[in-house]
Amino acid sequence: MNLLKILTNGLWKENPIIKLVIGLCPTLAVTNTVENGLAMGLATSFVLISSEIVISLIKKWIPNNVRIPSFILIIASFVTFTDYFLKAFFPGIAESLSLFIPLIVVNCLILGRQEAFASKNPTHRAIFDAIGMGLGFTWVLVLLSTVRELLGMGTFFGLEILGAAYQPMIIMILPGGAFITLGVIVGIMNVINRKVESQNG
């Protein structure tokens, strides 16, 4: 496929959260505010892009039977870098995301893309795959956190939107609300998908 198609693949057709159903832990945990959701999406994208670049560059030298441990080592290193970088220069974000930055290491999306794409494709294509998947992951996070923050606190990115008279639905920023909102979003996406597919014949 051409490069643009690789990119858009991650946005919808093989969207990591909606279609592949991976990387769900951060999706539910840090989408209580849009700021957190966006930051998590960007951090994950950074690790994904850097890992795919490095692994697609050195894939020739990695023997097949140690490929998974090698990928994991490289991913863990980029995550460590991200963690320290955020703690040093964005301490507020680092504190909000806390445990979930290191958990990027076990985000099946990252390891999965190395196995499925980076280890089998030239670097320029791997970059587009990573950007596409990263954006796909991020937009779902932002959507989910927009719903949760708006209904759960009446704000968007910290800005008061629904006014003081709005009684927030606290459940939205609690675990229960996260699960239910994601379930509804995936359900809606399924409906949209089915309509699109039936139209395409």
Binding site: P63, N64, Y84, K87, A88, P91, P168, I170
Partner: protein, 188 residues
């Protein structure tokens, strides 16, 4: 990917090289970022201490009986008050509170909730000014929770729907005051 039939030494070498290179790079990243991280932590600590010890412009860390106290001094070098980080269990986890007190008159000065996992909108309201004001000029001692305006210096007004969280804070601060009294005297 590289061929299937590779020797054991090749496998070990690959992993070792990746491991060593990563460790070296991360070590550099660590050295580079640590000063910034420590600066943030020091700033946060200072802010917490000064927020509960009014008038303090510098502090000194003193350890007594295994507890790290922060003695606050004003510009003239006089002791303004003493604070330390008190912990206790709340509704949903540990609550950490920086409690500042003035041993010379046996009163709590102010509190700052540093960490908590209480329910947003309910227990989390322990960080609100209105609740924290319960503890301004509060004498050391055992406190009681009431759900009306306090008529007695030893009473603390609860937050509606957050009885457990407020009780936890009340207990933590009460014990903190007594701890400070034990180590620095109680004035009255």
């Amino acid at each position: 990917m590289a061929q299937e039939d590779v020797s054991l030494s090749r496998l070990v070498i690959t992993l070792t090289v990746i491991g060593v290179v990563s460790a070296l790079i991360l070590s550099v990243v660590y050295q580079w970022t640590t000063p910034y991280i420590e600066e943030h932590q020091a700033e946060a600590k200072e802010e917490a201490i000064f927020s509960v010890l009014e008038g303090a412009v510098e502090y000194e860390e003193v350890t007594k009986n295994g507890i790290t106290f922060f003695e606050g001094y004003n510009e003239s070098g006089n002791l303004v008050g003493v604070s330390y980080i008190a912990k206790g269990s709340g509704y949903q986890g540990t609550i950490e509170i920086m409690v500042g007190a003035d041993p010379s008159n046996g009163e709590i000065m102010y509190i700052s909730v540093l960490n908590h996992e209480e329910t947003p909108g309910l227990g989390a309201r322990i960080t609100e000014e209105q609740f924290k004001n319960n503890f301004v000029n509060k004498p050391f001692g055992e406190y009681e929770l009431v759900n009306r305006e306090p008529s007695d210096p030893y009473e603390v007004e609860t937050i509606a729907g957050a009885t457990i969280s407020t009780r936890s804070v009340k207990n933590i601060v009460s014990e903190a005051g007594l701890t400070i009294e034990e180590n620095y005297g109680g004035g009255n």
